[in-house]
Structures are given as structure tokens and as C-alpha cells.
């Protein structure tokens, strides 16, 4: 099975776009965090897939591992913030949290 | 001491301001005394300066000290210096500044609110004005130029009239806009100019004298007169000139960028109005003569007609507006617009007469407008009302005041015997002659400008008729009893002004002999260089 590299790229781009749309449009903060994960994983996919183009170079895979770690941290911080938000605002809809404006 | 005279003039007020800073705010009299002492010292320095000044010897009392020297490697060295000096252009204005600032201090005697702050700001303003008139380094000039803004802003905004906030912000924004235009050109200029005295290394100099020499432009620079880059309709040099021109024209002020002036004047306290009209406006004209014209003579030559035309428009538009003004201070403010138009017309003539007239006009208008604003202030002090239509027949009630008003009005409308006449007639002669010498102005401009004389007579005499003649009658929230004649302090503020105006109207030679060499040199330089640079492809 020899899938060309650009297929991975398309998939990555698709994942990234979906993630972005989710981030922008979902009304639940948890889902927004999921969208973020999608976006990060789109990059991961790219990084790993590019190994095809640059064989013998493990930097991409390394990077992906780091990204996964960072994504975990990010999720942790994000969830903590969401919890705080819920405590203060009794909602997890980002749009409803808009006391800071203008 | 002689070689430090200008520095003494400049730093005495700053040191006094610093000293005042550490004195308790409660001892109000101290601040007045300190300021007066500074003024007296400045007068003494000025006298020494005048006695040792040699007319026709170019720049004198020059102090040149390195200030900023930055070695930027391949790019070259950036050099700004503490470079001051006086010549036939700046000496009259420095003298005027010292005199008017003294008058302003005396006129400030009645300030009671926050005396400390007021006098500190006044002292800073003092230094900035003197500095602007003496600086020969663009960066230094710009420093002083900007330095005037904040004290002036607060002086109007804190001690001004009812609409002071609006007026002060308008003043500030306008002037800042002008100074930004100047800043743009300053940046472009110093990058483009090198110091010819240093061989080998490229030295980017802020020295105005270097900038005025066309051969000092780095040949790759956009502003190099021999390689004028075309940017849209004009060459880069013309653009630069236009920016400078409008930058200074705002200060001058020229129609249509004049509207900050009436507001600022109407709202400012009397001494500040005096300084504003007598000195700050002159910096516009001074900047044109010192910076815009000599550095870009080709563009100035090319656009001379435009400068002259704007001058004529200012003369007439300002006059018409003065005629329709209902407030005495506003009327005087508009008359300033009209009179400063003569400065533009004179400078744009590229003749010795026109230039001398322009400088003389700056000096003379400094005296006359100071007197006018003091007079307007006298009335405002009495009744807090400057509406022209609220008064009638003051001549009978306030005879001395009316006498001074007569002097000031007739001096301002250019009656012979007063200094304004000499200035205006020189401007007219120069402006008319310009075309014959290959200068940029058409004869018709001078002819149209004579309308300004008629309009000037019309609004002043009409005001006289309305306010001072006819039967005594007042309207508004005050009574006739409040209209006391001049008190002694006011009298002694006005008398020296009136005498000075008269003196320079009857004996122009002392002042003219100072201006003359400068005017000749200036006119010949801009005309010749302007023509030559224009001819070179």
C-alpha cells in the first residue's frame, strides 16, 4: 500500500479546517477544546507524513511527540480554565462569557 | 562670557524652573520674583549680545558642542550637536522674545491660581522659544519646537477661559500634526545629508547649514537635488518642501490651517495670548526662512507662487473673518492670520525687500499683537466680556485705554509711523518686484494683497466706531462702573510696547541694518540656487 504523501497532506488540511470550524462555531467550550486537539493533530499528521519526503530524518516524529505532550498540557490548562469559567458564569458557552467588550 | 551668551539666555530660565520646582507652592510671590529676575537677566544678556553683534557678519555667538554621536558602522555616523547662533534673522526675534516674555511676566501678575505651576511652565516655554530661535541643528530645533507644545497646552488648558479644553486640544493636535510633517522631512533630510568636514567616514549630520548646501546631499539619496526622484506629480524634494511648508504654515498660521488660532486666543489667559501671538506664530515664519526655503530652494522657487498665493489668501480671508468677528480677541486673532500672510508673501518674493519685510513684519507684529492682546485682556479683566456689540462709547469712559487702542489699531492697520507700515511696504515692494527679477511671484499677487490694507482699515475702524465711539452704553452682565480706566501696571505694560512700535516705525534703520545683510544673502541665495538647481536635469 503506497499512499502518496499529498493524501496525508489533504487529510491534515481537512483535519485542520474541521478543527478551526469546530473552534469557531461550537457552543460548548469542551467541544472547542476538542477542535483545538484536531488542529494540533493535523500538524502531527503532517510532521509524521513528511518523513516520507525526508527519510532518515527523525525530526518530524520527534516534533510530533513533543506536540502531543504540549497538547496534553494545553488541555489541562484549558480544562482548568473552563472549570473556573463554569464556576463563575454557570455556563460553558464561550459566547455567553463576554463581559469584557468594547 | 560672550561665547556662552546664547546658552546663558537659554539655560537661565530652565535653571530657574528647576529651582522653582523645589520651592514650596505656598510662597506665591517667590515664583513671580524668580521669573522677573530671569527676565532681567535675559535682558542684560540680550544687551550684551546686541552691543557685540556685528551686522553683516553672518552667524555670530555660535556655540557648537557635540551632543549625540552614534557610530552605526557601515551606515555611517549619526551626529547631532548643540549648535546655536544668531544672525540677522534670529537676532530680531530673540530680542523680541526676551522683550515680550518680560511683558508677559508682568502681565501674569494677576494669576492667582496655582502660581507655582504657572510660572514653571512659563519659564520652560521661555527657554523653548529662545531655543527655537537660536538652534541651528535640526534635532535641537525640533526639540525646542516640540518642547513648546506641552507647556502651552497646559497654560491654555489650566488657566484659560470657559472653552479652554477644546481650544487647548485643538491647538495641540494642530501643532503636533505640523510638527510630525516636519519630523518626516527631518528624518529624510539627515539620512540624506553628510557632513562635508569629515573625510573618509560618512557622517549624517543634523546641521542645518550642511543641509542648506546642495552639494552635501549623498548622491544616492532621494532628496539629492541632482537626482530628483519623481513621486507622483512632484519630485521628492518638492514633497519634502511641501511637508515643511505646511508644517510651519500651521504654526504661522496660514489659511486654511488657521482655525486653532482664534480658539486658542479666545480661551488663553492674556499673557499666554500675548506669547502665542507675538512669539509662537513667528516660529512658523522663522522655520520657513531658516529651514524650508534654504534647504529646498529649488522647490521653493518652483512653488513660490503657491506660497505667495496662500499668503494673499490668508491676508484677505483673515481680514474678512476679522471683520465678521463678534469677539474682540477673535478679531485680533484673525487679524494675526491676515498679518502673518505678509510674511509668506514677503518670503516667497525671493527679493531682499520682501525678505526684509517679512522679518520686519514678524518683529513688528510681535509687538503690535502683544499690545492688542494686552488691551483685549484689560477689557476682559474688567467685565469678563469681550463681545464687541456689548460696548459702545468707551472713549468717554476710558480715555487712556482708548488712546492705547487707537495706537494699537492704527499700528496694526499699517499706519506710517508705526512699525507695521515699514514691514508691509517692504513686503509689497518686494512682492511686486519679484517677477521682474525672475522670482516666482506674479505682479498681480501684490496688487491683490493691497486689498488687505483696505480690509484691515475697515475692521479696525468699524470696531472703533462700535465699541469706543457713540454714546456710552453697555449690554451684558456687567455695569458701567466696572469700566475703570487703565491702572498703573497695565499702563506700564502698554507704554513700552507702544513706544517700541513707534520707535521702529520712525527709526527703522537700527533694525533694518541687522536684517539687511541677512535679507540680501537669503534672497540672492534662494533665487540663485533655486534657479540653478531647477535648471540642472
Amino acid at each position: 500500500m503506497n499512499v502518496p504523501v499529498h493524501h496525508f497532506l489533504y487529510l491534515g488540511a481537512f483535519l485542520f479546517s474541521v478543527g478551526l470550524v469546530v473552534v469557531i462555531s461550537k457552543r460548548n467550550t469542551i467541544l472547542v477544546l476538542l477542535g483545538l486537539e484536531l488542529m494540533l493533530n493535523a500538524s502531527n499528521l503532517n510532521l509524521v507524513a513528511f518523513n516520507r519526503l525526508h527519510p532518515g530524518n527523525l525530526q518530524g516524529q520527534m516534533f510530533a511527540i513533543f506536540v502531543i505532550v504540549v497538547a496534553v498540557c494545553e488541555a489541562a490548562v484549558g480544562l482548568a480554565i473552563v472549570l473556573r469559567i463554569y464556576r463563575e458564569y454557570q455556563t460553558s458557552v464561550p459566547d455567553d462569557v463576554n463581559e469584557l467588550n468594547l | 562670557m560672550q561665547q556662552y551668551l546664547l546658552s546663558l539666555l537659554l539655560f537661565t530660565p530652565l535653571l530657574a524652573a528647576l529651582l522653582s520646582l523645589f520651592l514650596p507652592a505656598t510662597s506665591t510671590a517667590t515664583f513671580r520674583i524668580i521669573t522677573v529676575v530671569v527676565n532681567v537677566l535675559q535682558v542684560m544678556f540680550l544687551l550684551v549680545l546686541l552691543l557685540n553683534y556685528q551686522a553683516g557678519a553672518g552667524l555670530q555667538f555660535v556655540e557648537l558642542k557635540p551632543w549625540i554621536t552614534l557610530n552605526m558602522g557601515n551606515w555611517g555616523i549619526l551626529k547631532a550637536s548643540y549648535f546655536v547662533g544668531v544672525d540677522g534673522l534670529s537676532l530680531p526675534l530673540v530680542a523680541l522674545a526676551v522683550f515680550i516674555l518680560f511683558i508677559a511676566t508682568i502681565a501674569s501678575w494677576k494669576i492667582t491660581q496655582n502660581v507655582k505651576g504657572y510660572f514653571i511652565l512659563l519659564l520652560i516655554l521661555n527657554a523653548a522659544i529662545i531655543g527655537s530661535f537660536t538652534a541651528l541643528d535640526f534635532l535641537l530645533f525640533y526639540l525646542f519646537f516640540e518642547f513648546m507644545l506641552l507647556p502651552m497646552f497646559f497654560l491654555i488648558a489650566l488657566w484659560g477661559g470657559p472653552k479652554r479644553e477644546y481650544a487647548s486640544i485643538k491647538f495641540f493636535l494642530y501643532t503636533l500634526l505640523g510638527s510630525i510633517l516636519i519630523l518626516i522631512v527631518m528624518i529624510a533630510l539627515y539620512v540624506s545629508v553628510h557632513d562635508p568636514s569629515t573625510s573618509g567616514q560618512l557622517v549624517h549630520s543634523f546641521n542645518l547649514l550642511h543641509m542648506a548646501d546642495a552639494s552635501n546631499f549623498i548622491s544616492t539619496s532621494v532628496l539629492d537635488p541632482h537626482r530628483a526622484l519623481q513621486l507622483g506629480p512632484f519630485s521628492a524634494r518638492t514633497w519634502a518642501f511641501l511637508l515643511l511648508f505646511f508644517g510651519f504654515a500651521i504654526k504661522l498660521p496660514m489659511v486654511p490651517v488657521h482655525t486653532w488660532l482664534p480658539d486658542a486666543h479666545v480661551e488663553a489667559p492674556t499673557p499666554i495670548s500675548v506669547i502665542l501671538a507675538a512669539l509662537l506664530l513667528k516660529i512658523g515664519g522663522y522655520g520657513l526662512a531658516r529651514i524650508a526655503f534654504p534647504i529646498f530652494p529649488d522647490a521653493a522657487f518652483h512653488l513660490g507662487w503657491f506660497v505667495g498665493l496662500m499668503g494673499v489668501i490668508s491676508i484677505i480671508y483673515g481680514g474678512l473673518n476679522a471683520m465678521a468677528s463678534k469677539d474682540l480677541k477673535r478679531l485680533i486673532a484673525y487679524s494675526s492670520v491676515s498679518h502673518m500672510g505678509f510674511v509668506l508673501l514677503g518670503l516667497a518674493s525671493f527679493t531682499a525687500e520682501g525678505t526684509a519685510g517679512a522679518v520686519y513684519q514678524m518683529f513688528s507684529h510681535g509687538l503690535i499683537s502683544a499690545m492688542l492682546f494686552v488691551l483685549a485682556g484689560v477689557l476682559a479683566d474688567r467685565t469678563n466680556d469681550r463681545t464687541i456689540s456689548h460696548y459702545s462709547g468707551l472713549a468717554g469712559k476710558m480715555p487712556t485705554y482708548t488712546a492705547f487702542i487707537l495706537v494699537a489699531f492704527f499700528a496694526s492697520l499699517g499706519l506710517p509711523g508705526f512699525s507695521g507700515f515699514i514691514a508691509e511696504i517692504m513686503v509689497f515692494l518686494g512682492a511686486f518686484k519679484s517677477a521682474g527679477l525672475g522670482g516666482p511671484l506674479h505682479e498681480s499677487l501684490a496688487i491683490v494683497a493691497t486689498l488687505g490694507l483696505v480690509i484691515g482699515a475697515a475692521y479696525y475702524l468699524w470696531t472703533l466706531q462700535r465699541m469706543f465711539f457713540g454714546p456710552l452704553n453697555v449690554k451684558g452682565d456687567f455695569s458701567v462702573d466696572q469700566l475703570s480706566d487703565l491702572n498703573r501696571r497695565e499702563y506700564f505694560i502698554l507704554l513700552p510696547l507702544a513706544l517700541a512700535i513707534l520707535f521702529f516705525g520712525i527709526f527703522p534703520q537700527p533694525l533694518m541694518s541687522v536684517i539687511d545683510p541677512y535679507a540680501q544673502h537669503f534672497a540672492a541665495f534662494v533665487l540663485e540656487t533655486g534657479k540653478n538647481l531647477t535648471l540642472t536635469p
Binding site: V32 | E353, L429, Q465, Q509, D516
Partner: protein, 646 residues
């Protein structure tokens, strides 16, 4: 100037003294305490007397000697010298004497006339200054200095006409006089600019050799003529002169005789050489119009002083015609004679007014004492004044045996000579001048008749007495010099000592003209007698063809409207709203108004508005909703990428 004449010290001294005394009078007036203000009047008259004596010495020493020229550098610029020059020849010496003399007489007269006036110090100060300024014009050998004094004359006339500043009409008239003069002066200034640009000198002597392009020369001379039109109240800038009658009567005498309106004619004579032929033609036409206009308007006036004012207009017109016709001598001769008899007439009229005022004051009857319709039969009550009036009136009318006959004759002769042979438009001018001299007789006769003859009406109940001696004396002196004898031995030949010495004498005198003129005048006298009861009721003439209203309507009002408009526009900047202006009737007004609203207003309002608008635009992305932020940022990046890649 082949023979260099050295002037004595006495001459120098007297020349300085002649000018210094009036100035001294001006200065000293400020130092006399208000309590003793009457001293001013005496002191001033005394100083003027000294001045007159000094100028007499000057006249004596300079008469028929080579001109005295002295140049003092006022200031120098660019290698050119702006000098204050003195130039004394026969004309200026004579004029100096006449100015100082008449002024002295007026001063003297004023001692009586103005006694008790509150502003007497100011009055005499300005009178002195007025004289000084006029003397300056007379002796100046330099156009710039002339212009300086010219303006100063305007200033002092402003102060004097508006002497009674509490009266609104006086304030109005003085303002008007100054502004109208300024209009002329603006033209004068243009003339000066042309002269300077081409000759680089203002020295009158030097200008005679100035090579100038004829077009510029014509323009320059017309420019200077503008100044003259203003000062000598020629058409169309004459309206200030009748208005100026609100000033004190001695001032009117001075203005009309020696110090103000004379300046124009004098200057015209002095710089006559600058005038090119086309320019002279215009001068002649303007003079002619003025003369006619003055004469016809005088017919319809009821106010004594107005009649005299219009008569001055018409006489000045005659002088200007003579100058236009190339005969400065004739004009000057008439100027000199006119100075005496017109001063005399005004003083006499002043005497009438003064006496009637005094009488009114005692009896508390009020009517307009200057209106001749209220007067009549004063012959018996004021015999001395009547006599003076008759003598000086005859001179004005140009009856034989008076100075006026001589000078008018000179003008007519000059015109006859000028128009030459054949038929040309110049003949029309000659005819007009003849008509003017005819009308002059008519209105003068009518005026005197109405005041002194007939029966008393309003004044019948009044106890009227002659004015004091201090007023009578100057009148007597002036009446005396209104006779022919001072100007030419032969009462029918103007070609006397004065005429021959005030210019290049042209040996042209036609006895025919004198005879014709004498007959013409007698005829006019007859007509005047016959029609003495006819009143010319034309309001058109009464108001001098509504000229000032015309000026008001078409010059003043638009300017004020324009001013209001520009101001309005400026204001709107500040207030930030526009509303339609009621003043926008004129196209110009519309245009400037549009310009101001669109361009000038637009600046601050526009910039501020745009800034705020832009601010609210850029801010509008900041709604507080985080997902929207992200959306906008994404959107912006996409736009950015697309824009850059394309």
C-alpha cells in the same frame, strides 16, 4: 540746475521750524493739564503763527531760487536707500506758506469756535498734527515720504472729522472717510510698487530720468492717481467729503482749503511728469465728471456746509481737469486761490452756525441751523459775516475782480489751448467746464441769497450777534486774500507773478477767454437772480446721484456679507454643523462658501469624524465574543494571504 545756490542757515532753520511748530503743538497738547485746557488753544495758535512766519521766510528765501533739495537716509536696504527727502521749489514753498497760513487762521478761528469743547486738547493736537502731515506732503521730495504723510493726513482727518465721537454720524463719517481714502491709497501703493520695481528710487527728482516702459508708466501714474482720487475726493471716491461735514466747521475749512483735498491736486502737479498721455486723458475725464457732479449736486442741497462741500468737489474737479489738460500751473493757481476763498467761506458759514447756535442756546428754540430753508434775512443781524460771504462767494463764483476769476480763467484758457483746433471729445470737456462755472455762480448766489436776503423765518425771534473778534479776524484776512490783487496786478489777466513762477510758463493768454468768461459769469449771475426762488427738489441730486448708497449696496454690503460668510464658515468648523446661510446671494459668496464648507470645514470635522468612524469600525470587531475574534483573525489572515499572493 546750473547755478548752485547755497541756502542760508536762516532758511534751514525756518524750514525746520515751519514743520516743527505744528508738531510741537501736537506734542505739547498732551502735557497741558486738563484743567487749563484752554491754554492749548492759545498756545497752538501761537505756535502756528510762528510756523507761518517761518514758512514766510522760507517762501521769501526760496522764491525764484534754484530748488532746495536735501536727502536724509531713512533706512537702507539691499544697497538701496530709502530716504526722507526735502524738495523746495516755488510751488512747494508757496504751498507750505499757504498751508501753514490757512491753518494758523483756522487755529485762531477755532479758539473762538471751539471754546468750551470738552475735547479741546485733542482737537488742537490733531489740528497741529494735521497741519504737520500736510506740510510733510508739501515739502517731501520723495514719493515714499509723501505716502507716509499722505496716510498721516488721512489719520488726522479721521480724528478730526470724528472729533465729536459721541455722535454716531461723526463716528460713521470719519470711518468712511478713512476707509475710502485707504481704497485710494491702495492704488497709490500699487503705483509706488511699479515705480520701485522699475526705477528703484522714490526720489521725485531722480524719477524724472527714469526710463520706463510706457505701459507700466501709465499704470503707475494711474495707481498714483487712485490715491489722488481718494484724497481729493474725485469720482468715484468722493462720497466721504460731503459726509465729513459732521466734523467741526473749522476742520471742514482746513480739509477743504489747505490740508486734505489739496494734497491730491498738489501731488498730481508734482508728479505730473510721470503721467503719460492716456493717463492724463483719464485724469481729465475723471476731473470733469467730478466737477459736473459736484456742481449739479450743490444746486439741490439745503445744508450750508453740504453746498460748500459739493462746491469743493466741483472745484477740485476743475483743478484735476486742468491737470489732465496738461496745465499744472492753472490747477495750482486755482488750488491756491481756492484755498483762501473756500477757507473763508467755511469760516463764514461757521460764523453763521456758531452765532445761531449761541442764539438758540439762549432762547431754547431748536431747528437745524445749517438748513438754508430755515434761514433768511440775516443780512442785518450779521452784516460782517454777510460781507465776508459775499466776497468769498464771488471768488467761488469766479466774478471778476476776485482771485477765483483769475484762476478759473487760467483753467479755461488751458483747456482752450488743450483742445486745440477742430472738434474732439476734448471740446465736450471744455463745454462741461463752462457749464460748471455757470452752475457755480447759480448755487453760490442762491446760497447767499437764501441766508442773508429775504425775510427771516425761524430766526426772527432770536437775538443774534456777530461772532467774537478772534473769529472775525481770520475771516477778514481770508476775504482780503480772495481778491485778485494778490495774484495778478491785472484783474483780467491771470498771467501774474504767481502763475509765471509756478511752472514752465506757457506764453499763452487769450484775452478772448477772459472776456468770454466774464460775460458768461455775469450772465450766470443774471440767471441766478431770476431763478432765485426756484428750488431744485430732485432727491437724485440731493443725494449726489445716490452714489454712496450705490457704494454701500455694491461694495460695502457684499464685503460684509463675504466677511460674515467666511466667519460663518470658520465658525462651523468649530461647532461642527452646517446650516444654509442667508448671505449666500452672490455667486462669489456661494463659491467661497462651498469651498469653505467642503474643504476647510472638512478638515477638522472630517478628520475627527473619520478618525472616530475608523475607530468604531476597528473596534466593532471587539464585541467580546472570543469565537468571533478567532473568526475575524482567521478571516484577516486569509485575506492577507490572498492579497499578498495575488
Amino acid at each position: 540746475m546750473d547755478a548752485i545756490h547755497t541756502y542760508s542757515f536762516l532758511f534751514h532753520f525756518c524750514l525746520v521750524a515751519a514743520l516743527a511748530f505744528p508738531l510741537l503743538s501736537f506734542v505739547l497738547s498732551f502735557y497741558i493739564s486738563e484743567k487749563y485746557s484752554w491754554i492749548t488753544s492759545v498756545l497752538a495758535s501761537f505756535l502756528l503763527l510762528l510756523g507761518t512766519l517761518a514758512s514766510a521766510v522760507v517762501l521769501y528765501q526760496a522764491w525764484n531760487h534754484p530748488p532746495f533739495a536735501y536727502r536724509l537716509e531713512w533706512f537702507s536696504l539691499a544697497g538701496y536707500s530709502f530716504s526722507a527727502g526735502v524738495y523746495i521749489n516755488n510751488i512747494s514753498a508757496l504751498m507750505l506758506f499757504i498751508v501753514t497760513g490757512v491753518s494758523f487762521l483756522v487755529h485762531l478761528y477755532s479758539v473762538g469756535y471751539m471754546a468750551g469743547d470738552a475735547g479741546i486738547q485733542r482737537y488742537f493736537a490733531m489740528l497741529g498734527f494735521f497741519t504737520f502731515a500736510m506740510q510733510g506732503i508739501v515739502v517731501s521730495g520723495n514719493l515714499l515720504m509723501t505716502f507716509v504723510f499722505w496716510e498721516l493726513v488721512g489719520f488726522s482727518s479721521y480724528m478730526l472729522i470724528g472729533h465729536w465721537h459721541e455722535i454716531p454720524a461723526a463716528a460713521e463719517a470719519s470711518k468712511r472717510a478713512f476707509i475710502i481714502n485707504r481704497v485710494g491709497d491702495a492704488g497709490f501703493l500699487v503705483g509706488l510698487m511699479i515705480v520701485w520695481a522699475h526705477g528703484h528710487s522714490f526720489d521725485i527728482a531722480a524719477l524724472q530720468h527714469m526710463p520706463v516702459d510706457p505701459t507700466w508708466m501709465t499704470l503707475a501714474s494711474l495707481g498714483i492717481f487712485c490715491g489722488i482720487v481718494g484724497k481729493s475726493a474725485q469720482f468715484p471716491l468722493f462720497t466721504w467729503l460731503p459726509d465729513a461735514m459732521v466734523g467741526p466747521t473749522p476742520v471742514s475749512a482746513l480739509i477743504h482749503a489747505a490740508t486734505m483735498v489739496a494734497a491730491g491736486v498738489f501731488l498730481l502737479a508734482r508728479v505730473h511728469f510721470l503721467f503719460t498721455v492716456p493717463a492724463l486723458h483719464i485724469v481729465a475725464v475723471v476731473g470733469c465728471i467730478t466737477a459736473l457732479l459736484g456742481a449739479v449736486s450743490a444746486l439741490a442741497q439745503h445744508d450750508i456746509k453740504k453746498i460748500l462741500a459739493y462746491s469743493t468737489l466741483s472745484q477740485l474737479g476743475l483743478m484735476v481737469v486742468a491737470l489732465g489738460a496738461g496745465s499744472p500751473q492753472a490747477a495750482l493757481l486755482h488750488l491756491f486761490t481756492h484755498a483762501f476763498f473756500k477757507a473763508c467761506l467755511f469760516l463764514a458759514a461757521g460764523a453763521v452756525i456758531h452765532s445761531l447756535h449761541q442764539a438758540q442756546h439762549q432762547s431754547h428754540v431748536h431747528f437745524d441751523v445749517q438748513d438754508i430753508r430755515n434761514l433768511g434775512g440775516l443780512e442785518k443781524k450779521l452784516p460782517f459775516t454777510f460781507l465776508i460771504f459775499v466776497i468769498s462767494g464771488s471768488a467761488l463764483a469766479g466774478l471778476p475782480l476776485t482771485s477765483g476769476f483769475l484762476s478759473k480763467d487760467a483753467i479755461l484758457t488751458a483747456l482752450v489751448q488743450w483742445h486745440g483746433e477742430g472738434f474732439s471729445w476734448k471740446l465736450l470737456i471744455l463745454a462741461a467746464v463752462a457749464l460748471v462755472s455757470f452752475l457755480t455762480v447759480v448755487y453760490t448766489f442762491r446760497m447767499i441769497w437764501k441766508i442773508f436776503k429775504g425775510s427771516e423765518t425761524a430766526t426772527a425771534q432770536l437775538h443774534i450777534s456777530e461772532p467774537p473778534a478772534v473769529m472775525r479776524a481770520p475771516m477778514a484776512v481770508l476775504a482780503g486774500v480772495s481778491l485778485w490783487i494778490w495774484f495778478s496786478w491785472n484783474p483780467f489777466n491771470f498771467y501774474g507773478w504767481m502763475y509765471t513762477n509756478i511752472g514752465e510758463a506757457k506764453p499763452f493768454h487769450s484775452g478772448m477767454v477772459s472776456i468770454a468768461s466774464a460775460i458768461w459769469v455775469i450772465l450766470a449771475l443774471g440767471v441766478a437772480y431770476v431763478t432765485r426762488q426756484v428750488t431744485v427738489g430732485s432727491p437724485l441730486l440731493l443725494n449726489a446721484f445716490y452714489f454712496d448708497r450705490l457704494l454701500k449696496q455694491f461694495v460695502e454690503k457684499p464685503i460684509l456679507q463675504l466677511a460674515a460668510l467666511t466667519h460663518h464658515a470658520d465658525k462651523k468648523w468649530i461647532d461642527g454643523f452646517l446650516h444654509a446661510t442667508a448671505y449666500a446671494q452672490l455667486i462669489v459668496a456661494h463659491l467661497t462658501g462651498w469651498f469653505d464648507r467642503a474643504i476647510v470645514d472638512g478638515l477638522v470635522d472630517g478628520v475627527a469624524g473619520a478618525a472616530k468612524g475608523l475607530g468604531s469600525f476597528t473596534r466593532s470587531f471587539q464585541g467580546g465574543k472570543i469565537q468571533l475574534y478567532i473568526f475575524w483573525a482567521t478571516f484577516a489572515i486569509i485575506i492577507f494571504i490572498i492579497w499578498t499572493l495575488l
